[in-house]
């Protein structure tokens, strides 16, 4: 899969994208790609939780090594912590660059209204919607515009965007 940096000048510059990927840039992403990205993000959040748990356990071990036992956690607390970390992670990731790590791996980008970078508040609300109603993603294939329930409610869109950086009109961080 060669990267052609010579022939394509669409967008006013030479594109490093593969030929086969160029037609899809800017199009709304489908269910499979976004699901894979969501799974990757879930793994990231889970890894962060495990890391936090290990770190917390290590901290307790340092405080009282003799009486150390692994901290116990209820299912509710685990789910709550997962949701909290996911909320913070998604909000900051979308607000900072329009993409989480899962989006980065799958070449996706979240766009706010009008194709601009998502605002902080919009990112936070969308993160809440995604955490509490993750099955909203299943609306994507039913929607003619490849939009999830969250996209329909908030006016956002998730597009294929293999460029590492946002285009110039998307770079302005909005609050």
């Amino acid at each position: 899969m060669a990267v052609d940096v010579v022939g394509d000048t669409t967008g006013g510059g030479v594109s490093p994208l593969p030929h086969e990927a160029r037609p899809y840039q800017g199009r709304h992403a489908g269910l499979v790609t976004r699901t894979v990205a969501a799974i990757i993000d879930s793994l990231v959040v889970g890894t962060a939780l495990v890391a936090g748990y290990v770190g917390f356990a290590g901290f307790l071990f340092l405080l009282d090594p003799r009486n150390f036992t692994l901290p116990q956690s209820s299912l509710f607390l685990s789910i709550f912590m997962f949701g909290l970390v996911a909320e913070v992670y998604l909000t900051l990731s979308w607000w900072a660059g329009g993409r989480t790590y899962g989006y980065l791996v799958m070449g996706l980008r979240l766009l706010g209204r009008g194709g601009r970078s998502p605002r902080f508040l919009g990112s936070a609300v969308r993160a809440i919607c995604c955490v509490f109603f993750p099955i909203g993603i299943l609306w994507i294939p039913i929607s003619r515009g490849n939009r999830s329930v969250q996209d329909v409610l908030l006016g956002t869109a998730v597009v294929y965007d293999w460029h590492p950086r946002a285009s110039s009109h998307q770079r302005t961080t909005q609050y």
Binding site: M1, A21, A29, N146, A157
Partner: protein, 212 residues
């Protein structure tokens, strides 16, 4: 009698007897003079006289140039000369002519100004002439030696932002695995979309909606 004066004969005619006699004598004398002159002329050796003539002295006293210019039809003479001039004679004449001197006096700029350069160029195959007679290697080397290739390369690199392209190419898209995974994801998205369209009995194709 053209040689006799008229007035003296008027008087004798009015004199009786003697008048007619005098007239007759005068006529006879006149005829005699003609005969004598004719005889003298016949006897004179003109060639001998001409041979003794100092022609150069005579010519010195004459302005021949002025006489020729005023009395000779030069245009007619030149025209006749040119008509009778053949190629062989002309070449003999040209041998005598200092062509270099003529060329030195020639206003080449004026001649070139009247020249139809386009017509001349149309008759030439400049491409083949250049290919046959020009050492293109030398020309190219000379041209390149005067060109700041490094500067041009830097301008091109600045224009296409090559460092940015390299950064992008060696960044997230450098992994073939990632690219293949993304493309497979896109193809799976398309397949799922088509399958759902068939399930929902959508006959029109799903539009490629964009937000950029």
């Amino acid at each position: 009698m053209p040689g006799l004066p008229q007035l003296p004969f008027l008087l004798p005619r009015r004199v009786p007897v003697l008048g007619p006699v005098l007239v007759s004598l005068l006529k006879g004398a006149d005829q005699l003079v003609d005969v004598v002159i004719a005889d003298v002329v016949r006897r004179v050796d003109v060639d001998a006289i001409a041979a003794r003539l100092n022609v150069m002295a005579v010519l010195d006293r004459l302005d021949l140039t002025d006489i020729v210019l005023s009395r000779v039809d030069l245009q007619r003479v030149v025209r006749e000369v040119l008509i009778r001039l053949d190629a062989e004679t002309l070449s003999e004449v040209l041998v005598l002519v200092d062509v270099d001197a003529v060329a030195a006096r020639l206003d080449v700029d004026a001649v070139a100004g009247r020249l139809d350069v386009d017509a001349v160029l149309d008759r030439l195959n400049l491409t083949s002439t250049v290919l046959d007679r020009v050492d293109l290697g030398v020309v190219v080397d000379a041209a390149l030696s005067k060109v700041d290739l490094i500067g041009i390369a830097e301008q091109i690199i600045d224009g296409v932002d090559l460092p940015e392209i390299i950064r992008e190419s060696t960044g997230t898209m450098a992994s073939d695995t990632v690219r293949r995974g993304r493309m497979q994801g896109i193809e799976a998205d398309e397949a799922v979309g088509r399958a759902v369209d068939r399930l929902l009995l959508r006959h029109t194709r799903r539009p490629a909606e964009r937000t950029t």
